[in-house]
Symmetry: C2
Subunit: 356 residues, 2 copies
């Protein structure tokens, strides 16, 4: 039964729902679509994501991708109307415990297994959708105590067919994990960015790459993040309590000139950055940054990457430092430590100015 068969119904044709439908359609599965917004539905079908669902359809699976506030109600309806064919129901909501509690008494709950793809975009709506949205991304799968094994396997098969990497967690573990890896970092970024909003004139001229990195996510839509954080209130408040205690310790250490205590708190941060899993889920290899000056006009980055490519060294990450006041860029190439010297020598031999 863990072999996927169509039709699969997608309820809600926003960015994520339409992207799932596109990925499944590409994989040869029939998708039927429904949405309260006829505009979204028209766009999604126009993109080739599937056809509009009819009451006669008997989907083997229903994927609920509606806003957080409607998840419980729509999942319950999906379970009720597919009782005949015993369809599997999943969702893509960013919080798992709350909606599950809402449907705790729903008949057929054993056919429901929650999900949450770690993919998105700063854009929204079906026009931003892409069959490749989930390629290689973690996709949390959150079975509850009564979920049946077939349903779990079907949802895992769906995730794989969309290109995602299934990560199994309980609903509560999931909510705790995203509080830590997403919601609390977002709130702290917003607090750091908030201090910039009322900065005296001229002070922000000294902004470097660091503050840009720290605050980037804080540019996200306040209404959306407010809704997400509120739906995960318990977990977020737990962690923010820890943050508050540590913040008090930092303030006390600085005020007392207790350098040792301050360094211990900073060292905890260093340990945290090292705990984030490396690329491709593997261990983190020692990396080194190679800095190169690049004139800031079309074609120069191409020339740099062509030359870097010719060196045979794989570039793991790239950042361009935005220099105020001058038309030259500083490009940071992150490569495995053992390959850095080779890359430097290779680029220098082709006339690039590196920063050693």
């Amino acid at each position: 039964m863990s072999e996927l068969r169509g039709p699969i119904e997608i309820v809600g044709t926003g960015l994520v729902g339409t992207s799932i439908a596109l990925a499944l359609t590409d994989a040869g599965l029939e998708c039927v679509l429904s949405d309260e917004s006829s505009d979204n539905l028209r766009t999604a079908t126009g993109l080739g994501a599937g056809r509009v669902a009819t009451p006669e359809d008997r989907p083997t699976m229903v994927v609920v991708s509606v806003p957080p506030a409607h998840l419980g109600r729509v999942i319950r309806q999906a379970l009720e109307r597919t009782a005949d064919q015993q369809a599997v129901v999943t969702d893509v909501g960013s919080i798992k415990s709350g909606p599950l509690a809402e449907i705790a008494d729903a008949p057929g709950l054993d056919r429901y297994v929650g999900g949450h793809p770690m993919a998105g975009s700063e854009r929204s709506g079906p026009l931003a959708a892409s069959a490749a949205l989930f390629d290689g991304r973690p996709w949390a799968i959150t079975p509850h105590a009564a979920s049946n094994q077939d349903a779990l396997e079907m949802v895992e098969a769906l995730v794989r067919r969309c290109g995602g990497v299934p990560v199994r967690l309980t609903p509560l573990e999931h909510d705790a994990a995203v509080a830590r890896t997403s919601h609390v970092p977002h709130l702290l970024a917003a607090l750091a960015a908030g201090r910039l909003a009322d900065a005296p004139t001229g002070h922000l001229t000294l902004s470097g790459q660091g503050v840009r990195d720290v605050t980037r996510v804080a540019a996200g839509d306040p209404a959306l993040y407010g809704q997400i954080v509120s739906a995960n209130a318990d977990q977020v408040i737990n962690l923010l309590g820890e943050v508050r205690a540590r913040l008090d310790e930092v303030i006390a250490a600085i005020a007392a000139g207790d350098r040792e205590a301050l360094e211990a708190l900073l060292a905890e941060g260093v340990a945290g950055t090292k705990a984030i899993p490396g690329k491709h889920g593997g261990p983190v290899l020692p990396m080194r940054s190679v800095f190169v000056s690049v004139p800031d006009h079309p074609g120069e980055l191409a020339r740099l990457f062509a030359d870097a490519g010719a060196s045979g060294v794989n570039i793991e990450d790239v950042r361009i430092d935005h220099d105020p006041g001058r038309d030259t860029g500083l490009v940071e190439l992150l490569v495995e430590e053992s390959r850095a010297e080779h890359l430097l020598v290779s680029l220098e031999s082709r006339g690039w100015v590196t920063h050693r």
Copy 2:
């Protein structure tokens, strides 16, 4: 007198001091170097940064680039031993008020004008030095009440000759500015990262690009940042007090389910991200991200940038998303909004999979 003449003495041949000496030497000025570490001195002279200073030298200018704890003492000595030729003295310390207070009674204080280049590297020492380190970077210049005009103009000329962009601030304004744009963001990044250090097994599998951005700077050396933050204690504690008050408001808003208050705090963060000056010091143009799937092996980025370059669209920033579990990368190209569609069409016509 604001015309730079050699010899210029650099006291302290670490990363910044040696980079200044290299830049000035490149610009045709004679540099003489001194350092308590004979190793550093040998390396710096070996790199062509200048010759070792002798007691007979009569520098027109002294640039003090020693660790924060020694700034006051070394600046005072420099003023004393150059009284004959009335040399200008500057420094490159990351905090300005404290060292100035230490030398408030120094004879010849009118010849001192503080400085702080906003440039550095995750590496240190003269081997990491580069004449291009300051290219286009802001360089704070912090005259005090008694600084003379000639000294100020000489220091500005030095900054320009090194490729930096002079930004004039009072010492106190400088310390307040870096507390806001550097020290407090660093401490909040460390608090966010600290919560990852003791995460339950598996939870960090859900880490995305956001948490990586927020916590990146927290990987910096705890001893160095402890020293910097401690030297700017008053300003940092001031701002951390504001952060603490806002954190309490965030916790209260979430606990009370007060969505409006929470969104207002998040909106303050959005306003802060918009307050950071844009590239080249100019206004921030509307930007759009273009997402492209790129196989993760040497040469593919080169091919992408060659194709992007051929489109004639200037790439303002690049990020590579590290996908766990799959050998494909998602590359984000930031371009001016008005050029995004042209770039997308151009890349698609060359066979790239874009995420629309």
